[in-house]
């Protein structure tokens, strides 16, 4: 199992003054799952784009099965057996599984699309891999885990024996993630070379054989997974020791700063939600289960029925402005589209939250910004630079700085660490804990279970717009939250099973290489087993 499918040698790519990849070597071997990790901007995406032919390197060589190739487009990469599953699925939602799989490589007869052969080939592929997919199912009716299978089948249909997965677990439930990992292991055992781009170190430890760590465009380590630890990887990624912030002791709890009753805002059906001063209340759930609608209804960006009280004031009919006046601060999920004006300067972005009345003294605006930037360690530019020129982590610090500075009784934070690097994550976690310790209440909505487990005093699990479970800090664990999500969707979740090649299909659990320890439901992932049984 050491034959090298693809080798990237000395890849260098510059975007203007930024060196995205600096003399990077990467070997993808048949049968090996190779994790590629690094902070945002470390060059993971660029490297994968080079491998997939959508970005041309300035220098360096690509060797496929030992012969040098030049990928001038994804088409060339696909022809060389490379398949890629993007983070955001590239599927036609209104079309069937079959149409999506064959798109761009349709079987034809006399120049016309041969529908029958297309159906047969996709059905054969689905059967070969033991996928529960129905070839005629319309993609928009499928859960995320199955849509991802469609993406993987797309690559396999094109004969991929090198599979790139870009942040594949971002949209999956823990159970779906476990199934995906089982599929990945199976594909690897069958000889596929898998490149897994991720920023979650626990996933690296779970599923990969080798891991390449990128920092500032260069490879800083490439150990076998078995011989490394998450802490060592984090150190390699950031160049320093990261000490995770956790919520160690419960603080004194004060009066309620947020009281929500009977909230209805399709699909949200929340009968009761309370956040008190001095606590962090978490909302867990897979993206798209109504969390963002809940947040928008709470902060006043979306109409809803029911009542919302912030710091004792009934703001049910108030817009964002009224709710902010009552005592709301809000870090939105989309810092580019909602949380900042990217084309304006950092100083303006900060001032618009605090210095909007009357005359503006430019010197004062600058000083205010410089002060906040110092306090929150915003690096990379001065107050006059645009927010667009900042990295994700620093842009998020600008948003956080502005909102924390309100010292509002209630802070709503929506995926506050999404897309920011490890150093910034640690920083943001500390800030949230400090905000709580200062006697404020925090409503923390997050897709990252580890974040909620580290910070929250109480977590509500949200599925399909409802709270299906509420877990206190003492009982918080990934398993407990994962179970709550899975059980709530039981009838649907059971349909999702792993992709399993036929020759290996006997049993996943017996094999032990896949992570199947979390939930008994996961071991249903068998081609021969009727999932509903």
């Amino acid at each position: 199992m050491t034959d090298i499918r693809v080798r990237l040698a000395g890849i260098t790519k510059r975007f203007g003054p930024v060196v995205a990849n600096d003399d990077v070597d990467l070997e993808l071997r048949a049968g090996e799952v190779h994790a590629v990790v690094g902070e945002n901007g470390a060059g993971k995406s660029t490297l994968m784009s080079v491998l997939y032919g959508s970005v041309q390197p300035d220098s360096g060589r690509i060797l496929a099965r030992g012969t040098e190739v030049g990928f001038d487009s994804p088409r060339a990469a696909i022809a060389a057996g490379i398949g890629m599953v993007h983070q955001h699925f590239q599927l036609f939602e209104s079309l069937s599984v079959t149409d999506n799989v064959i798109y761009g490589a349709e079987p034809t007869r006399r120049g016309l699309l041969d529908r029958r052969r297309a159906r047969e080939r996709v059905a054969a592929l689905v059967e070969e891999y033991g996928s529960p997919l129905s070839p005629t199912a319309i993609v928009e009716t499928l859960p995320m885990g199955l849509r991802q299978q469609v993406e993987i089948l797309k690559a396999l249909y094109r004969g991929a024996d090198v599979l790139i997965l870009d942040e594949p677990t971002a949209v999956l439930t823990p159970a779906e993630t476990a199934l995906l990992f089982a599929s990945i292991r199976r594909l690897a055992e069958r000889g596929t070379a898998v490149a897994l781009v991720t920023h979650k170190l626990d996933e690296v430890m779970q599923v990969s054989d080798r891991v390449t760590v990128l920092r500032q465009g260069a490879v800083v380590a490439s150990p076998a997974t078995a011989s490394t630890t998450p802490a060592a990887l984090a150190h390699a990624m950031t160049g320093r020791d990261i000490e995770a912030a956790t919520n160690d002791e419960p603080g004194p709890v004060g009066p309620a700063v947020l009281e929500v009753t009977d909230l209805r805002a399709d699909p949200v059906r929340v009968d009761r939600l309370e956040v008190r001063a001095g606590e962090i209340v978490g909302i867990a759930g897979v993206a798209g289960n109504g969390q963002s609608e809940l947040v928008r209804a709470v902060v006043g960006l979306r109409p809803a029925s029911g009542t919302v009280r912030i710091a004792g004031v009934d703001v049910t009919r108030g817009d964002v402005r009224r709710r902010r006046a009552a005592g709301l601060a809000y870090v939105p999920e989309d810092r580019g589209a909602v949380g900042s004006a990217r084309s304006l300067s950092i100083a303006e972005n900060l001032a618009v939250g605090h210095l909007r009345r009357g005359w503006l003294n430019p010197a004062k605006v600058r000083a205010f910004a410089a002060d906040l930037m110092r306090k929150h360690d915003v690096r990379g530019a001065g107050p006059e630079a645009t927010v667009a020129s900042l990295s994700g982590g620093n842009a998020q610090k600008v948003v956080l700085a502005r909102e924390l500075e309100h010292r509002a009784p209630l802070l709503v934070a929506e995926n506050p660490t999404q897309g920011v690097d490890i150093g910034a994550i640690e920083y943001i976690h500390r800030e949230l804990l400090a905000y709580r310790a200062a006697g404020h209440g925090v409503l923390l909505v997050s897709n990252e279970l580890s974040e909620l487990i580290a910070l929250a005093d109480r977590v509500h699990v949200m599925v399909d717009g409802r709270f299906v479970a509420s877990v206190d800090r003492a009982d918080l664990s990934e398993q407990r939250l994962g179970e709550a999500m899975t059980n709530a969707t039981a009838p649907d979740a059971a349909v999702t099973t792993a992709l399993v090649p036929p020759d290996q299909g006997a049993s996943i659990a017996a094999d032990g290489s896949a992570d199947t320890t979390q939930d008994p439901a996961i071991t249903e992932g068998r081609p021969d087993g009727d999932a509903r049984a």
């Binding site: 964002v320 006046a325 084309s343 618009v352 210095l355 530019a381 107050p383 006059e384």
Partner: protein, 363 residues
């Protein structure tokens, strides 16, 4: 068009002066200007005229002593209309009803002045304020239409312009007409209401001062007040503005009312200059409104660009008249140059935006 509105600042900290200089060179305005003069040269060549002769005449037309007063006189309404369009543009809204507001301001001022003929200059000041108020209210009408009727402001302002122009035309023909002249115009204002001329020339009156003051006020509000910051924020990202707690409908109403009021005031000031009356069509025909729109668009509503653009476009219009007189080149050439400026400017902005997108996509 919305891509024109946001401030296109980039990059790291620099001295403000450097930034202005860099924007002028790397921005779209200057290249667009050069390109449009090239287009003009091609047109001249194809018409069998030496472009050098033509442009010489154009510049002579601008700088000729006898033309300077016209330049100054045309500058005031163009600057006024540019400021009028720039205010809502700053927050990403388009007021295309400038003509209607200009005319409404003019006819209202004429009507009020006729009612209080003995009040002199103070009376006309009152009349001008009434004109501004009428035009401001008319422009602000677009906000409830957008909010409750879901008519985009760019559409409603444009459409509201037509009844305003027609209504003013009706007033100038019937109830307020100067009987006996047979021309659709209001009676000449009493002498005491004529705007005092500045020392330079009879054509250059206090209206120029008022326009410059309005422009200065716009600059100060834009750069030095919370209101200006709010407007720019809304223009850069409406959702962000809403999220951060800006009262969007109040700011929109205010911006449109101010925009309309400045257009109305501009109309009133024209009426109080020679020939000291409201003549049907006289306010619309010179195309002040859309020259102002063009200037404000190219400047993205930025104050410094507004001033430079208003000067340039006024010069082109006045110079065109001189060129026609001196060497017989039709002044439509300057219209061609103006149109080319707009087209190339929009092209350059579109290409830059496309490049920025593809560059961002590669990361």
């Amino acid at each position: 068009m919305a891509t024109l509105a946001p401030d296109r600042g980039t990059g790291a900290a620099e001295k403000p002066l450097h930034r202005v200089a860099r924007r002028a060179v790397t921005g779209a305005a200057l290249p667009a200007l050069l390109a449009s003069f090239l287009v003009g040269a091609l047109v001249l060549l194809s018409a069998g005229t030496n472009p050098l002769t033509g442009y010489q005449a154009l510049f002579r037309g601008v700088l000729l002593d006898t033309n300077l007063p016209y330049l100054a006189a045309a500058f005031a309404p163009i600057l006024g209309m540019a400021v009028s369009f720039a205010i809502p543009l700053r927050m990403g809204e388009f007021n295309l009803g400038g003509d209607g507001q200009l005319v409404l301001g003019g006819i209202t001022a004429a009507a009020v002045a006729m009612a209080i003929p003995a009040w002199g200059l103070a009376g006309f000041a009152l009349a001008a304020v009434a004109g501004a108020a009428a035009a401001g209210a008319w422009a602000a009408l677009s906000v409830p239409l957008a909010r409750f009727g879901r008519v985009p402001i760019i559409i409603s302002t444009l459409l509201l312009g037509f009844p305003a122009v027609s209504f003013a035309s009706y007033l100038a023909r019937y109830p307020l007409t100067d009987k006996g002249t047979g021309i659709p115009q209001t009676p000449r204002l009493p002498d005491a209401m004529h705007l005092p001329a500045l020392p330079a020339s009879a054509y250059v009156n206090v209206g120029l001062l008022v326009a410059v003051l309005l422009f200065a006020a716009y600059w100060v509000v834009d750069a030095r007040t919370g209101t200006g910051l709010e407007l720019r924020t809304l223009g850069a990202n409406l959702r962000f503005g809403e999220y951060v707690g800006i009262d969007v409908s109040r700011r929109t109403t205010g911006a449109l009312a101010a925009s309309g009021a400045i257009a109305g005031l501009t109309g009133a000031l024209i009426v109080a200059g020679p020939p000291y009356r409201f003549i049907d069509g006289a306010l619309v025909a010179p195309g002040y409104t859309f020259t102002g729109v063009t200037v404000a668009l190219i400047a993205s509503g930025r104050p410094a660009g507004l001033l430079a653009g208003a000067l340039l476009f006024t010069a082109l219009q006045v110079g065109g008249t001189g060129m026609e007189r001196d060497v017989g080149i039709p002044r439509q050439l300057t219209a061609i140059i103006q149109a080319s400026v707009v087209i190339t400017f929009v092209l350059i902005v579109a290409v830059q935006a496309y490049r920025a997108r593809t560059k961002a996509g590669a990361r």
